[in-house]
């Protein structure tokens, strides 16, 4: 009898243990799944915030905006990743590969070629450092160089972590995860601490010139394209984003081309000649792409077409004809 009771007791305990384990396991799995779901929900909300932020930044160009960065963001030309979630992006965005810091800073500029084609969006954080290096002797002797350096630096938003140093100083390590050194037609011994990358700007014209980074030279047309190179992680990111910008330029140019055709057929003679002449210029702009920036002749041709379009548009406005843009 006792043995039977003991056996019964044992089975009872085994049953309790198994049932208890099942119940505990069930609730633990719910908790783990909920935790993961919540983390994904936070990442999704952050991604959505990023989407709206970028959409707003595109609409309101000119001023830089700052928001708190809850999680690190991984960026490549075609996607933005937060946590386990990522989102594709088709807009021309120039940013470092990793956005890390307390605050995310967004800035966008109109890219006019000569009409507005798109907005270029720049992303960075307060932990990324931008060092503008100028040639001290040239700064003292050339007013155009001085104007170029001062204007380029002053137009760079104050919300960003920027500084201006002469080539006779040294660049100290301020423990930033990323340091971008912009050499303004100057040379300096590049520091060796982590996260350093550099690029060189040749010339003193904010509207056109040449930039070098990643072993490649590019022409830039317009100040936004120059800033785009500063914010890009590397030449691959720059080329990829500029490729998207040129696609937008093609779409805008197609619209203006059709508009010119339509206006040319209904306007008086004085207006018509300008519409006809601008057709040639717009064909050059329509044919431009990233490869144009790497070729001296093509870049010169593109810049010439842009200047010509500006002149035709100004003439049309003076004559009270419907302008092209």
């Amino acid at each position: 009898m006792n043995r039977k009771a003991m056996a019964e007791e044992q089975f009872r305990w085994i049953f309790i243990l198994v049932a208890g384990a099942l119940i505990l396991g069930f609730f633990t799995s719910i908790v783990i799944k909920q935790k993961q779901a919540q983390e994904d929900a936070i990442s999704a909300a952050e991604l959505q915030n990023m989407e709206f932020l970028m959409a707003n930044a595109k609409v309101a160009t000119g001023s830089a905006n700052e928001i708190e960065l809850a999680q690190d963001i991984n960026f490549d030309c075609n996607s933005i990743r937060i946590g386990r979630l990522s989102k594709q992006t088709k807009e021309p965005i120039f940013a470092p590969e990793l956005l890390k810091g307390r605050n995310l800073v967004t800035w966008s500029l109109d890219w006019n070629m000569p009409y507005r084609a798109t907005n270029l969006l720049f992303l960075t954080t307060d932990e990324a450092r931008y060092v503008f290096v100028y040639d001290e002797d040239k700064y003292a002797s050339s007013s155009s160089y001085q104007k170029f350096v001062d204007e380029l630096y002053s137009k760079f938003p104050d919300k960003m972590n920027k500084e201006k140093v002469s080539n006779k100083e040294s660049i100290s390590d301020k423990n930033n995860y990323k340091t971008r050194i912009v050499l303004l037609d100057a040379s300096i011994a590049l520091p060796t601490f982590k996260g350093v990358s550099s690029m060189t700007i040749k010339g003193t014209d904010l509207e056109k010139g040449e930039i070098q980074f990643g072993g490649q030279s590019y022409h830039y047309i317009g100040l936004p394209a120059l800033y785009a190179a500063i914010f890009s992680e590397d030449k691959e990111n720059y080329e990829c984003a500029m490729d998207k910008a040129f696609k937008k330029l093609k779409l805008a140019s197609s619209v203006y081309s059709e508009k010119i055709e339509e206006l040319g057929s209904i306007q008086v003679y004085e207006c018509q000649t300008h519409y006809t002449d601008s057709n040639v210029a717009i064909s050059t702009i329509l044919g431009a792409d990233v490869a144009t920036l790497k070729n001296d002749n093509w870049a010169t041709g593109l810049f010439g077409a842009i200047s010509a379009m500006k002149n035709y548009n100004n003439e049309l406005i003076k004559l009270s004809c419907p302008p092209i843009y």
């Binding site: 959505q48 609409v59 088709k90 779409l251 619209v255 203006y256 059709e258 339509e262 419907p322 302008p323």
Partner: protein, 159 residues
């Protein structure tokens, strides 16, 4: 004794059954609440998307009024819209990346109510989808006649 033990076992099983039944009810209730709140969330998200699409459309360089790059807010140029209509149709994939599934059109209200243009139309291939529409008053500028019309930008988005 055997019967007592069996009764005891039966009691435990019944208790466990009832316990899991209650848990089941609770989970169904919780899932229902989650579904309801996610339906409300998705409706809100769709509305926000409609606003975003309207914002993008009204500031698109291909449509927005400008004079020598000085842009005019809340204004679409009629001549540009007529040209953009064809360009959008030929490059629908590029514009899908911006607008997603949806429909964008402009309509003149005063003084020219005959002006009406469908700028973008891309439907999902599946049969059922949620939809939300917003209408935004917008100036339609005729650059030839140099006149502004009171118009409406209609944006419909599909999930």
């Amino acid at each position: 004794m055997k019967k007592k033990a069996q009764a005891g076992m039966f009691e435990i099983i019944v208790v466990l059954f009832v316990f899991f039944l209650l848990i089941g009810f609770g989970l169904i209730f919780y899932a229902g609440m989650q579904k309801r709140s996610s339906t409300e969330d998705s409706k809100r998200v769709l509305e926000l998307r409609a606003v975003r699409v309207a914002q993008i459309a009204s500031t698109l360089p291909e449509l927005q009024c400008s004079l020598d790059n000085a842009v005019r807010e809340n204004c679409i140029e009629v001549e540009k819209a007529m040209a953009a209509k064809d360009v959008i149709e030929k490059n629908i994939a590029d514009y899908y990346d911006m607008f997603g599934y949806g429909k964008i059109s402009i309509k003149g209200i005063y003084p020219d109510s005959s002006l009406s243009m469908l700028l973008y139309d891309f439907n999902p291939s599946r049969q059922t989808y949620d939809t939300t529409a917003i209408q935004i008053p917008i100036s339609l500028y005729d650059s030839v006649k140099k006149q502004n019309y009171f118009g409406v930008l209609n944006v419909e988005v599909y999930s």
